[in-house]
Amino acid sequence: MKAYIRSAVAISPQKTFNNPTFLDDPAEYRNSRLTSIEPDYSEAIDPRSIRRMSRIIKMSVASALACLKDAGIANPDAIVTGTAYGCLEDTGIFLTNIIQENEEPVTPVAFVQSTHNTIGAQMALLIKCSRYNNTFVSGGASFENALLDALMLLSENNAANILVGGMDEITDTSHTVLSRLGLYKRQPLSNLNLFNTNSKGTINGEGAAFFLLKNTSSPNDLACIDAVATFYKPEAATELRQFINSFLVSESINYSDIDLLILGNNGDSKNDEIYSQLQQSVFKGTLSINYKHLCGEYPTSTAFAAWLAANIIKKNNIPVIFNQGKISKNKINKILIYNHYQNIYHSLILMSSC
């Protein structure tokens, strides 16, 4: 179920939106909250539509519209989104309303905007897309399910081009709550040193990334998505290795065919043990980079990783920030993204040059 990535756009805690350069000026953060670097939305979105949009909707709509524009597609055959938290800000506003106003709420719009499929729906409304529209809220596998749905649609011949996205936002409340749950680093540190301390905790992140996938190739494609798979709560390391082995077998590739691994290490020593074990076993000797020091940890971070992979393949260049120095391979043909979110969902996304 192969798909061609015709365009990919991300808004993230890095300068990724509307930037001709590729991560050559990494943004540094010295706290545990990486917030998206947002554009002037009045340039990206019709001002009359913006007034009700919360941050997550603006980030997503701006990325999605830019993605469509780059691909030269006005109206895709389907819109599929993945978001674990949905429209958190509006949910919080309406809930707070109900509690503080004793069930006499003062903003109907916040309720309407809080539904998880608002992003996909907003896109459909803006571009008048009457086709298939679905939203996955599958925690750490939300983006992966959106991708899988899109790949299935393309192979069912029900669609020739599909807009797929993954997005999540941080709100003050969500950051406070997740901090109370002990997810983040206690001591302030630079995100660029995230993997240099052997300590507990990660850093919070957010972002929106959209892709225009097609079932036919064109000269301007960035890369291909070959396959995506998720694995739920592996009961042992052997099971996990078996999952990865089976995935590669089904794609008829060997570990030696993987030119680059993009791994979901998030700086938490316990969380990252899994990656370390794999790099000493099945991934031994494979060139790898991490990505969460750039975007932070959040359930749909693999959307950022996929954006990263697509650009690495297209430009055949791994940005300096990844400290890879000189690479022996001439061409980066195959990238495997492996990530797990809180050891609940493990996912693999295989991408290749077209």
Partner: protein
């Protein structure tokens, strides 16, 4: 992709019954589950009727095996999914199947989040963390999946009122792509202050018992519940001793792309969803014997859905009814609950009544059924769902 998918298990809990048998009895006897709100603590209990599941959280806990402090949404999901899974006989008879759980919800654990936030808003260090960790819709799904022992593929979908239909569609397609052999698919939603007040601010709730497709209808009543079907491939169906209930022969999702909360006057979204499902099933409109309407009872929905039906089915209108006149609008669960009712309709040859219909809508030449009836030659049943954001889905269940 044209291989059929079969329904081999059904499970449901709603305002009219705690399982399939009880719900079926109520549908046959015309007993609505809409009543004054008794279980949810809300300031609106005297003003807004709803179809609550007639069990306290402690009772749901005992039935579901989940702790009493668990989200009501999760407990409802557990009960219905467990019933469907047990009915299917799959776990007992063919334990090594690749099985998935695709569940849908709009509220997730928000009933517990409300409790958390009440304390958190006063002091950010207050509020029990156990009340907030299952806020996400996916947490509800994984809780139930773990109890059922299903782990090959877990997904959660949320597209407002069409959520469960999209979950059933996705489950069917995972089977057709040979990624899974069996899928428990459907959805769940509990009545919460969030949704009750949300719909109340939109001025779409009826202060009386709702009257879907009545000329003088004045809004919807909310409900709560969960409904799941167990889908399998033809190969797996052939390994089971019992015949499947029916086949899922058609489905389609389309977007109305008109307004965030209203459907277009001509019902473009529902029209596309229904005609797409028919096309997929290789069926003509005249092949449909019964439509389980989305039929919420709002001015807008019933006009739009009615317009779409008129466009598609004229002059051969099938029998139709809205079972939301029994269960209220169960939001993310509605398409799952109504899928179960549709499966039972085609399997048993039954047509449910549309309760409290006194004055048919003058705009349309068709009238929903007002009495329960049996029809042995019922072959194809169409179930409609329309959600916020213009998300429209239709499912077709066909007799074997």
């Amino acid at each position: 992709m044209n291989d059929p998918v079969f329904v081999v298990g059904v499970g449901v809990i709603s305002g009219i019954g705690n399982n399939v048998a009880e719900c079926l009895d109520a549908l046959v006897e015309g007993k609505t589950g809409i009543d004054k709100i008794k279980y949810l603590r809300t300031n609106h209990s005297d003003l807004l009727p709803a179809a609550e599941v007639k069990l306290t959280n402690d009772e749901l806990s005992a039935m579901s095996g989940l702790a009493p402090a668990t989200s009501r949404t999760a407990m409802l999901s557990m009960i219905a999914a467990q019933e469907a899974w047990a009915h299917s006989g799959l776990k007992k008879n063919i334990p090594s199947l690749r099985t998935g759980f695709v569940s849908a919800s709009t509220t997730g654990g928000i009933d517990k989040t409300e409790e958390f936030l009440t304390h958190f808003l006063i002091d950010n260090n207050k509020g029990k963390l156990r009340d907030i960790i299952n806020h996400e819709c996916d947490s509800i799904t994984t809780m139930v999946a773990d109890k059922l022992g299903i782990r090959n593929h877990i997904s959660t979908i949320s597209t407002a009122c069409s959520s469960s239909a999209n979950a059933i569609m996705y489950g069917a397609r995972l089977i057709k792509h040979n990624m899974l052999d069996a899928v428990v698919a459907g959805g769940t939603d509990a009545l919460t202050r969030f949704t009750l007040n949300g719909f109340n601010t939109l001025l779409v709730l009826d202060g009386k018992y709702c009257r879907p497709f009545d000329e003088n209808r004045s809004g919807l009543n909310l409900g709560e519940g969960a409904g799941y079907v167990v889908l399998v491939s033809e190969r797996v169906a052939s390994l089971l001793k019992r015949d499947p209930y029916c086949a899922l022969t058609g489905y389609f999702n389309a977007n109305d792309a008109y307004h965030q909360t209203s459907t277009s006057v001509n019902g473009d979204g529902p029209y596309m969803a229904m005609s797409g499902a028919l096309e997929m099933g290789g069926l003509q409109p005249s092949d449909i014997d019964y439509i389980n309407l989305h039929g919420t009872g709002t001015q807008n929905n019933d006009s739009s859905e009615g317009a779409a039906i008129q466009r598609l089915f004229h002059p051969h209108y099938p029998k139709m009814s809205s079972t939301k006149s029994f269960t209220g609008h169960t939001l993310g669960a509605s398409a799952g609950v109504e899928a179960v009712f549709s499966v039972l309709a085609v399997h048993h040859g039954m047509i449910y009544p549309n309760l409290r219909l006194q004055t048919p809508m003058s705009a349309f030449p068709f009238v929903p059924e007002t009495a329960f009836s049996r029809q042995a030659d019922l072959k194809h049943v169409l179930s409609n769902s329309v959600g916020f954001g213009g998300n429209c889905s239709s499912l077709i269940f066909s007799k074997l």
